[in-house]
């Protein structure tokens, strides 16, 4: 199984500038974990714990948010496209 993963620009420093990386895997979780073989260190940006994505990382399989599917358990097949998209938040900041 080989899946295309689309990398957003803030993470391309881990992929030598590549915006698409092909990695093997049967589920979204496997695919994202396999990324670190080709893009060492990227896992620290994606995950805050084992099988727990960072709050500001959104992941899509063929344009559907994985939170509407089976999260990291979502199955993927040959030719599927996984996109990593940073959430866009504004925040409150510290007033002091």
């Amino acid at each position: 199984m080989s899946v295309k993963v689309r990398i957003p620009s803030p993470l391309r420093s881990y992929t030598q500038g590549a915006d698409v990386v092909e990695v093997p895997g049967n589920s979204v979780g496997e695919v994202l974990n396999a990324l670190k073989e080709k893009a060492g260190g990227i896992e620290t940006r994606l995950f805050k714990g084992p099988n727990q994505l960072n709050r500001f990382v959104n992941v899509y399989v063929n344009d559907e948010d994985i939170r509407f599917l089976k999260n990291l358990e979502t199955p993927v097949k040959d030719g599927d496209e996984v996109s990593i998209v940073p959430a866009i938040a504004g925040g409150i900041g510290d007033v002091k």
Partner: protein
């Protein structure tokens, strides 16, 4: 003078210089503009603000803009003391902050766009754009036209006609996208990434969101330099609520108002209420939804700032509620009939939720309450069309008018005009 220090990641504290970036490279958290509040003390005062222009730029010292380029007539909208609606609800200190008349496209978005477009010009962009449920597209297109910038507005395919034409008239490139706002927003993230344009609510987001503070500043100043005890704010993407709270806290920090522990409440439509659900659950994980509500301008199932709305509400001691489509339309009509303000479904949602919170006893009737009206009903005719009866047509004859009055009032005596004073002929 500018009091901006730079950008700081809200999550991990990573710092970056002022630039068109919105995502922290270290953790993907949001960048926030950092100010030197110490340097503002004694310089940013009630007097210095009062001496400013009657627009949102009177708060320029608290905004991340060196030189405003647009929005010179935006903001400083009325804060109205409600009489008839207050009586209806049994409230004694009820206020309406009315951005339905904000210039030039009649929504609160003028505030964020004025700041973002000024900043886009400062950064040297010649193309701006946005992902929008309508109001933001209207405002971005209008301000881009004024500033002479190329403009792309990206919207979901099924918006109200008023919102579509209300952008097209300003001559932007409009892209209608099959899907929900959340699909549009995601595409815009990728467009900003690929084309390097200034997408106001994506890569200019740290600056854009700061503009929303002016809504809160105005409430405080117009209330006579005091904070309302309760502020009800609609939640879509979640920009305005945390920024109203931030505005209150900044004024407290600068000693411009007393800290009366103002509570902030989130209003969402029942067909799209991911933040309210999380508030009710007491867990700050916002589960995304597929929106299904007539309140299209707030139909955002995956709110970018939902997490921060949750925390502003909890931190302030507020709460959140949602309103059904029926309740939203009833509230639109109630506001129109009691106050003469025609708002869009987002405003109806806010009022409907305020009524719920008052009925629940969460907001006491004798305390100060501000209802945030953020958009104009003339853009969303569809919302009330099926709910108002189109009148019959009569011939231009007094007998037909009499007959019509008789039909409407039945056997009851029709209202007769008051006696007119006699005209004396000298």
């Amino acid at each position: 003078m500018s009091y901006v220090v730079g950008l700081k990641c809200k999550e991990c504290g990573n710092r970056a210089p002022v630039s068109p970036v919105h995502v922290c490279e270290a953790c993907f958290g949001p960048y926030e503009v950092e100010y030197d509040y110490g340097a503002m003390k004694g310089k940013v005062t009630r007097e210095s603000i009062s001496a400013g222009p009657k627009s949102l730029w009177r708060y320029k010292d608290l905004l991340p803009v060196s030189e405003p380029k647009t929005g010179f007539n935006s903001g400083f909208t009325p804060l109205r003391k409600s009489q008839r609606l207050a009586n209806e609800l049994g409230c004694t200190d009820l206020w309406i902050k009315d951005d339905s008349c904000n210039y030039p496209t009649y929504s609160y978005k003028e505030r964020v766009v004025s700041v973002a477009i000024s900043k886009a010009i400062e950064f040297g962009f010649d193309t701006v754009g946005c992902a929008s449920t309508g109001n933001l597209a209207n405002s971005t297109a209008a301000h881009a036209a004024m500033a002479g910038l190329r403009c792309f507005v990206m919207i979901p395919h099924d918006l109200e006609q008023g919102k579509v034409l209300g952008s097209l008239i300003f001559g932007p490139t409009m892209v209608r996208i099959r899907g929900t706002y959340d699909d549009v927003n995601r595409l815009c993230t990728e467009i900003a990434d690929k084309y390097g344009w200034a997408i106001v609510n994506v890569n200019l987001r740290p600056y854009y969101t700061e503009g929303a503070k002016t809504y809160g500043f105005e409430i405080a100043e117009q209330l006579g330099w005091r904070l309302p005890q309760h502020t009800v704010v609609p939640t879509a993407g979640g920009t305005i609520l945390p920024k109203v709270y931030k505005a209150y806290r900044e004024f407290i920090e600068l000693g411009l108002v007393e800290d009366n522990h103002p509570k902030i409440y989130s209003a969402q439509a029942a067909g799209c209420d991911p933040v309210v659900k999380a508030i009710h659950k007491g867990i700050d994980i916002i589960e995304p939804q597929k929106p299904n509500t007539m309140a299209k301008s707030i139909a955002i199932g995956n709110p970018a700032d939902g997490y921060y709305v949750w925390h502003a509400v909890k931190d302030s001691g507020g709460w959140g509620e949602s309103a059904s489509d029926r309740e939203i339309v009833d509230a639109i009509k109630l506001l129109a009939k009691t106050e003469g303000i025609w708002t869009e479904p987002a405003g109806g949602t806010t009022l409907a939720v305020a009524i719920k919170l008052i009925q629940q006893g969460r907001i006491p009737r004798n305390e100060s309450i501000v209802i945030s009206i953020t958009g104009n009903g003339l853009k969303t005719l569809e919302a009330v069309q099926g709910d108002l009866t189109y009148p019959e047509v009569i011939e231009a004859k007094l007998s037909e008018f009499d007959a019509m009055l008789h039909r409407q009032h039945g056997q009851q005596k029709p209202p007769i005009r008051a006696a007119r004073p006699e005209v004396s002929v000298v």
